[in-house]
């Protein structure tokens, strides 16, 4: 019964442990901003907790530095089993401007499996809320990978363009 209750409660209330892995504090301030009454992520059941053992979600900001990477791995092990990892900010998503730096591993997904990415430098509070709502299934995803190409000279010579003047957006 407790198991069923947990399964029902999990999508309603996500307790978040915020891990700064070398961020510049820009993303951290936006994360705090999301928790204020103006944006109010607590209406979705989001709450910051002080220990990873209480958390369902780890929210990673910052490119993972060499120093903090083992601690981040241990932190993920400390979170009980149904767990999500959010990468907030360009640094956590792909390393940011430090993606190939010697002291940085380049993104949270190099160290731990990431479930949701919220790019932005820093992301707007609305963008973080959108990521939260995406995880809760309240909104649709609005980005997709794009593959664009121009016509080759043969296609131009034939006078037919399969690609509609160079635009071919395939999700």
């Amino acid at each position: 019964m407790l198991k069923r209750l947990c399964a029902r409660a999990f999508p309603r209330a996500l307790w978040v442990y915020h891990a700064n892995t070398g961020a510049c504090n820009g993303c951290d301030i936006e994360v705090i901003d999301v928790l204020t009454p103006y944006y109010d992520a607590e209406r979705f059941g989001i709450r910051l907790v002080g220990s990873p053992r209480h958390a369902d979600v780890i929210l990673v900001t910052g490119p993972v530095t060499r120093q903090v990477a083992p601690a981040l791995r241990r932190l993920l092990e400390a979170v009980p089993a149904p767990k999500l990892v959010f990468a907030v900010g360009s640094c956590a998503c792909g390393g940011g401007a430090w993606f190939d730096s010697y002291s940085v591993l380049g993104g949270a997904d190099r160290v731990i499996p990431v479930d949701y990415y919220v790019p932005g430098c820093p992301p707007r509070p609305e963008a973080i809320l959108h990521g939260v709502a995406l995880a809760l299934g309240l909104v649709e995803k609005k980005v997709a990978g794009e593959a664009l190409r121009q016509e080759t000279i043969e296609e131009l010579a034939m006078g037919v363009s399969r690609f509609g003047g160079g635009r071919d957006a395939t999700p």
């Binding site: 790019p119 609305e126 963008a127 809320l129 980005v143 593959a147 664009l148 121009q150």
Partner: protein
């Protein structure tokens, strides 16, 4: 003491609702906001100036074939500085106001653009710009009275 608490409660009742109805109602960013990049495939001619100035190395240029140049925009690490938009001579890159870019797949944060490079009429190969100054201009450098910043 008690009166002050009551006064505080009254102030709280009078304040009304401050929370934004955000995910339910749209909220536009301020004008001038720089969001996700958008690439116009018709305008790009593959000079690679954007890749040269990008501080985060978002744009990777690869000459896949003799007449095909592939530009890959891994914008997950984009810092939205807008330098690519500034240096693009054709205005092919634009920073839109889209900020709702949360996703669960890293492949969603890649734009791949295959540019057809114009070849030489005689030998059929792509040719570099003839003078060093033109080459620098094509690579994104701008020379002017502002110390080369713009």
């Amino acid at each position: 003491m008690l009166l002050s608490k009551l006064r505080e409660a009254l102030i709280c009742f009078g304040a009304g609702r401050v929370t934004l109805p955000y995910p339910a109602a749209p909220r536009e960013p301020a004008p001038g906001f720089r969001g996700k990049i958008q690439v116009d495939a018709d305008l790009c001619f593959g000079c690679g100036g954007c890749a040269h100035v990008c501080p985060a190395g978002v744009i990777q240029v690869e000459d896949a074939a003799q007449l095909t140049r592939v530009l890959e925009f891994h914008w997950s690490r984009c810092t939205y500085c807008g330098r690519c938009e500034e240096v693009c001579p054709e205005g092919a890159i634009r920073l839109t106001s889209q900020f709702e870019t949360a996703t669960d797949r890293p492949q969603d944060m890649v734009i791949r653009l295959e540019v057809f490079m114009g070849p030489c009429q005689r030998c059929g190969r792509c040719f570099p710009p003839p003078t060093p100054l033109e080459r620098m201009t094509a690579a994104g450098f701008r020379h002017g009275g502002d110390g080369g910043r713009a």
